[in-house]
Amino acid sequence: MKVVLQNLTKVFPGRGKGTKDHVIAVNDCSFEIPDGELVGLLGPSGCGKSTTLNLICGLQKPTSGKILFGDDDVTDLPPENRGVGLVFQNYALYPHLTVLQNIIFPLQNLRGKEKLSRAQMLEKANRIAALVQIDGLMDRKPSELSGGQQQRVAIARALVKMPRVLLMDEPLSNLDARLRLQTREEIRRIQRETGITTVFVTHDQDEAMSISDRIVVMKDGVIQQIGRPQEVYNEPCNLFVAKFLGTPPINVFRASVKDGTLWIGDEAVLSVGGVADGNVTVGIRPEGFCVDENGPLTCTLRAIEVMGRDVTVVSANPAMEGTEIRSIISSDQDIHENKETVRFSLKAGKVFLFDWESGERIAFTETL
């Protein structure tokens, strides 16, 4: 089922009178989720991603704008008539019911023509339990399950009615690091097998990057960028998106452009074509550095962290923003820890220029 949001806005009224205390949680958001895709809503906390999810789900009413499932306008429908399944951050499994009772709870609500016999309910519940691999736990209470198992039960409960859209609010944030990796693959598999259009909310860019078909990066209720994870990583549209995606995070420098050359401090590091002279902010991905004896960028060496496959060089430069520069180089490159300084050359494709004030991306052409 295709999901379309049109100019969606949600304003929470403030406590005081007038409009100045109003909180605009979601500000004029429009995007389209193609049928059968897994979409990650990504952003720092308070950016409106959970509110967006609640709007799609119907637990909250938008102040303005429209939500369409396929060609149906569902903006004014209550959640139960939208055909959505929702997985809560803390799962919200009913603690007094067994796993089986939790899973068939939504089915027991069906009335009239859709009403199912007990046998049909059990059949559906067992099928879905097999899909999420909890078939052996049907008689347990939620408190007797591990976090990962509870998560699966929550997904099973959301899926049992075969919703048109599956929504997940921070589905992995209550799991430990290892289980998180495992479960995100699991979510991917379940989503592929059922083919249900899925939207999930996360503040963890790793999570969003690894399993989504498409990510939506939000900040302060405004969509910053939508695209395939790799596209967004390779071509961030502004400084916020560039900073938000990637671990270790992008390294940011204060720099200037003069006559088609990029200057960091008093070093000309890269020739950039088609950029007007003036101050710019430069973002360089950790993998955009090459250790080079004759490289143009000089940094004070602080530490070298060998991580097996590759090496992280921690260094500093007077023009950097933040506390350190982290660059990742392959372990076969030669570097001596006893040196005071390290010199880098830069890979142009991993260097992004941003407007000094607005943070918008400035395109440049590589000139030799």
């Binding site: 637990l59 209550p78 919200a92 603690p95 007094h96 709870f105 939504p106 609500n109």
Partner: protein, 240 residues
């Protein structure tokens, strides 16, 4: 002692009181708390109003009830005016027939124990996580089913707590009866087991500590039995 008509009367009174007031007060308190939980405006005001009886002196409340229900040569009392208005005949609720006095005692007891129960239940209801309700709403659960399948089980530990303490409290009722009918409860046929124990020790017919101790042991046995039954039942229905 088991042939003492006063004792039998006291046991009978106590049991009637317990069996009527505990279920009634708990269910009315549940209704009011659910109602309080559902409204937004003026909720704090109502909560305060419902809690007022808890901080009011029992004897003062007894006096107010007497004024409401008592029939004197000058006035029939407010309740009797209402009874008349609806076409009934006035009854003296304080010095009149047995059922009328028992009715007043029950209403009084319910009224006195209610605030505490409402307080406990509103906080129990407020502590049920909103996510459960949201989850149920997304699944299209009817309001009645939400109440029966989610709200009730979630607050069941508190409900059972209230029932058990309610039973114990009602079994040891004494001051309520005194507040309404004065100290000579035997004459008013409104004595309770605790009242009987007191009478046997210090009252006008006092000086029989053996009777008092025997009655106290019987009371203990009854309360113990009922509490055990309650705990057994609750273990089946309380889930965590």
């Amino acid at each position: 002692m088991l042939r003492d008509p006063y004792f039998l009367q006291a046991v009978k009174n106590t049991f009637i009181l317990v069996m009527i007031t505990v279920p009634l007060s708990t269910s009315i308190a549940l209704l009011i708390s659910v109602g309080l939980n559902a409204i937004k405006p003026l909720r704090n005001l109502f909560q305060t109003v419902y809690f007022l009886p808890y901080v009011t002196n029992t004897l003062a409340v007894g006096l107010v009830f007497m004024i409401l229900f008592k029939k004197t040569p000058y006035s029939d009392g407010l309740i009797n005016l209402l009874v008349r208005f609806f076409g009934g005949t006035a009854v003296d609720f304080i010095d009149g027939p047995y059922w009328a006095k028992m009715l007043v005692l029950c209403i009084y007891t319910i009224w006195v124990v209610m605030p505490f129960k409402i307080l406990i239940l509103t906080s129990a209801l407020a502590s049920v996580k909103q996510d459960y309700y949201s989850a149920a709403r997304v699944d299209g659960t009817s309001r009645f089913r939400i109440f029966r399948k989610i709200t009730l089980p979630m607050i069941s530990p508190m409900l059972f707590y209230l029932v058990i303490t309610g039973f114990i409290g009602a079994f040891k009722a004494y001051s309520d009866a005194v507040a309404l009918f004065g100290t000579d409860l035997n004459a008013a046929e409104m004595n309770t087991i605790v009242g009987y124990i007191y009478d046997m020790l210090y009252g006008d017919s006092g000086g029989y500590p053996s009777y008092a101790s025997a009655a106290a042991i019987i009371l203990f046995a009854i309360v113990l039995t009922i509490t055990c039954i309650n705990l057994l039942v609750s273990r089946k229905h309380v889930h965590y």
